[in-house]
Structure formats: C-alpha cells, structure tokens
Amino acid sequence: MRVAKRFSLLAGLFLLGSSLVACNTTQKPNEAVGTTGESVPVNVSQALTLPLALGNPSEVSPLSVRGLKVVSKVVFDIEGRPAYLANLVSTERSFGKALQVARPEDPVYLTGLLKDIAFYGDIFPAEAYKVLLDKCPNCSLVYHKHALFVRTPGGKILDSTGKEMAQEWVEAAKAYRVAMREMHRKNGFLSELEKRWDQLIDKSPPAPSPQGFSPQSLSEEPKPLDLATEVFRGVSPQATEPGQCLSWFLWWCTVYENRGYVSHTLSSGRLEEDFGNRQGTVYNWDWSHGPVQNYTDPLNANFGYNAGNTWGAWDLVFPYAWDKGSNHYIGCGPVSLLRVLEVYRRRGLQGIPWDITLRLPNDSLGYSGFSVRVPGGSTTDNGLPK
C-alpha cells in the first residue's frame, strides 16, 4: 500500500519543531536539534559484522579467516550525521576495491556508528552500493527508511535512479527523525540503548591506533579490521578446541546467530503455493463471473468490474471497489493473509478445507445468508486456484 505525503498537514509539526529550535538559542546554525549521539569506536562497529557474516565464533578459527578483513565505508543518516558503517568481508584492503570485486548479490552489512542508532541496519546487495557510487564516486552514502541514497558534494540527495529528492521531503524527513529522537530520549529509551552499546564496547579490545574515529576523516574509509590478527589476535591457529572462545571481541562469544528458510521453493525461489502480491483486480476468478448484486448465483454471473457494477462476492481476490476507475486495490494486508492461507490450503494444513465456502456479507459487515463455494481442485493457466 502506498501512503502519499501531505505537507499541508505538517504545519503542526513544523510549528512544534521551529519552536524547539527557537528555544535553543545556543545552538549552532547547522546543527540539528538533539544531535548529540556519541560515536561508537569504528572497530566495534566493524566487529558487529562478524555474527552476520561468519555466524558463531566456535565455527570459525584464525586459520579459516586468514587474509579476510572487514572493510567499511561511513554511511550518513538523512540529517547528515555519520550514523552507520557499510561493511564487506573481503580479502581486499579497501571498501571501494572490495565492492568492485564483489558479486552483485554479495551482502553488505550496515552497523551502527552512533549510540542513538540501532546496532544494525538493513542488509543490501553489493549491487545497490555499486549503482550509487558508480554514478557519483565523490558522493557520500545516506541510509534512510530502508533505502540508500547519496549526498552530492553540493548537498543534494539523490536516489538510486539518480533522481534528486525534493528539498521539502528531505527537511520533513529530518524533522521527523529529530522529533522521534527527542521522544525516545525523554522516556529513557536512548539511555538504555546506550548502556547496551557500552557493554559491547567494554567487551571489545581498544581500537588499535591510529584507528580512532575522527570527524575530520569522515569522507575516508576507516582502517580495515583484519580478522586473523585483530579479531583472533595472539591466538594460535591450532587453538580450535570446541566451545573455546577465541575472539578478542568477547561479546561475540555470547551472541547467538541463527537463520532459517522455508523449503520446497521453486527454482524461482518462490513457494509453489504462493500466488504472489496480487492486490489489483485484474484476475478473472471463475466464480466471480458476476458483477451484479445478486447473491443467489454468484458463480454463474457475468464477469466485469466497472464502477457501479461490482459486488461483494469478489471478496476473495476480486475485492474491489472504491470509485477510482480501474485502479482497484484490496491492499497488501489482506493479500498477505490470503497468500499464507492459500499455502496452508494447498498443503492440507491446519484443517483448512480444500473447497472453501465463503460467506457473502451484507452491507453492514454481517453474513448475508448466501455463500459461494470456491473449489480448490482446479487451477488457472497461471497456476492460481479457480
């Protein structure tokens, strides 16, 4: 589903935001309200890549990671703070080189670099970074709301397609984050989070000089973290006893990494039973051949979905009908439920009948007294249930 921006409704927040700014008379002109996040040592942020990239430390030895490094690049938040590191595990010595030799689908891990930021951000494929940095090698990376952008030396924010984001969008996004952070700070959320960062830092080795993070070197790539010598520093390659924690980042020894997946997917990677994200009303389900408001024989009525010509029997997939021309949506929420329900039905799970009998509603959200049987036996050419 999509949510459109409505700037006219933002007036209230902007008034609030500007009053906050006005009260803070000692504030530097280019510093956002509440921008006080303390930096995390670079080597600790880099080491957060280890559980994601390598799993549990007992499965790794100094020998098995010899030559590998965590190479990183600073990623800014929409406010312009150095908030994340983008990390690759590679034999190369710099993030730029590692990105060049990485396969498009290789994971790049985002880890937090400020104590008011979560330990982690999304995992993007290497291609996502390549696309951005190839277009603008001198730009800095920006991560906001599950998407990557670049900031040009001139201060413009560009998305992956090279399109410039509107200034009003950027300002609103900044104002939103500042307001959100103030709320998190007031109720103590951020101080609790900071304690977790401090625990992590306490159980990490000190950053080897000259690795210390300095704001002056933001545009540069931080020094790589060498796994064999800095994560397993001083440990003999023979020390591989089960359960022995070899990492100098002691917290890694108590962190549990786990992953899993649904099996029996098609070669496309999709589950056979999953009909996909079909929110629109462009599918012809045979039982819905009947856009007249007549509950007595919905299965045999004629197909059609013009405005004023729709009805409630389409509820399973042909749901629609706000008065919006052909742009009809059931919404991703209901569709996500129906997709999972369909997987269950076709696998015969949890007592879901093969032939589902849908009750037809009346206009007050109740049962109309009429039902329609949706047989599960046959499928359309597209593999959808009829």
């Binding site: 494929p125 009805w311 929420g333």
Partner: protein, 179 residues
C-alpha cells in the same frame, strides 16, 4: 460490500479489507493499520468458518493521521522494555514459523519506494527467510523480502534482508496463522 453511493455510483469495499479496517489512502491504495491486522483477519476467518487464527506482534502502531502523513507516525515514545519484548516475540515467531514449521510468516515493513521518491509504502508480505542475532536482553531480527522471490512490490536496489527493529520507523511486525 457496498459502503455508500457517491455521484450516482455505488462504492464498494472488499469484505476482507473492510473487516481489517482497510482504508483507501489518497487514491493510492489500501492501508491496514498494524493494530487492525490480527483482529480484522480473525473476524473474517471466523465469519467464513475457517479454523485458523492470526497471531503476531508489531513494534508500534501508526495513527490515522500517519497514514496521510508519513512524517508523524508518532503515537507515543517506545519504552526499552516494550522494544526488547517485541524483539524476543518476533524472534520466536520467525524461528517457529519459518524455521520449525517450514511455513511463511507475514512481515510488515516501511518500504520507501525509490522509484516513486515522494511516496511511502507500508508493506505486508509473506517472508520465507529470516536471520537473527541474540544479544543479552534483545535480539536483532531480519526478514528476507527479495522482490524476485517473495513477490513484493517492485523495488530497485532495495535491501534484501530487512532489519525489523528500527525504532525510528516504528513500522515493523510479524504475523502468522495457526490453529
């Protein structure tokens, strides 16, 4: 079901969308609030005599204005305790549903759509894969929402694995159906 008549045309909404309080937003689609997902789905399932129910958890809700205005989805600050509880519950839901039962779980995330730039999408989609890291008193959870595999709406160069614990978004959740 017919909701009303406008300009001589009948206005309908799907029963399932109506049951989940799905609202048409700015002519761009249907939005279901996280708080309405499980109750609405369960009403519809019960009305149709289907023997499963939806359970799940979400980090924080949006209010109605948030659906019109993505910049103020703040219905209140989140406490550390509710945050950590959320991470453990979603951790359990992902492990049990995808890992143990070998079935997809529905995840919610705020998918800023790069091609559209100015639009924001909340998206619910079945996820087939998860990854989690358990720290001392909270866990970092990821769900995979690969466009080519799970069939979510088009994303160009978006993340493959979505971090479900971003307390700036407050738009993360996991649901599943079971008996």
């Amino acid at each position: 079901m017919k909701l009303t008549t406008q300009n001589g045309k009948n206005i309908y909404n799907a029963w399932i969308s109506q049951a989940m309080s799905g609202k048409e937003i700015a002519g761009q689609g249907q939005a279901v609030l996280p708080k309405d997902y499980a109750p609405g789905a369960n009403y519809w399932l019960a009305q149709n005599g289907l023997p499963v129910r939806v359970t799940g958890d979400y980090l924080r809700d949006f209010d109605a204005t948030a659906l019109l205005n993505p910049y103020i989805p703040i219905t209140g600050p989140i406490a550390w305790v509710s945050y950590t509880q959320y991470t453990w519950r979603t951790n359990g839901l992902l492990k049990d549903t995808i890992g143990q039962r070998d079935l997809p779980a529905v995840v919610l995330f705020d998918s800023l759509q790069v091609p559209y730039g100015s639009s924001f999408y909340l998206h619910y989609a079945p996820a087939y894969r998860y990854r989690l890291v358990e720290f001392w008193d909270w866990s970092a959870n990821y769900a995979t929402v690969d466009n080519s595999k799970e069939g979510v709406i088009p994303r160009i160069w978006g993340p493959v694995e979505i971090f479900l614990g971003d307390y700036y978004d407050l738009s993360n959740g996991v649901w599943r159906i079971s008996q």
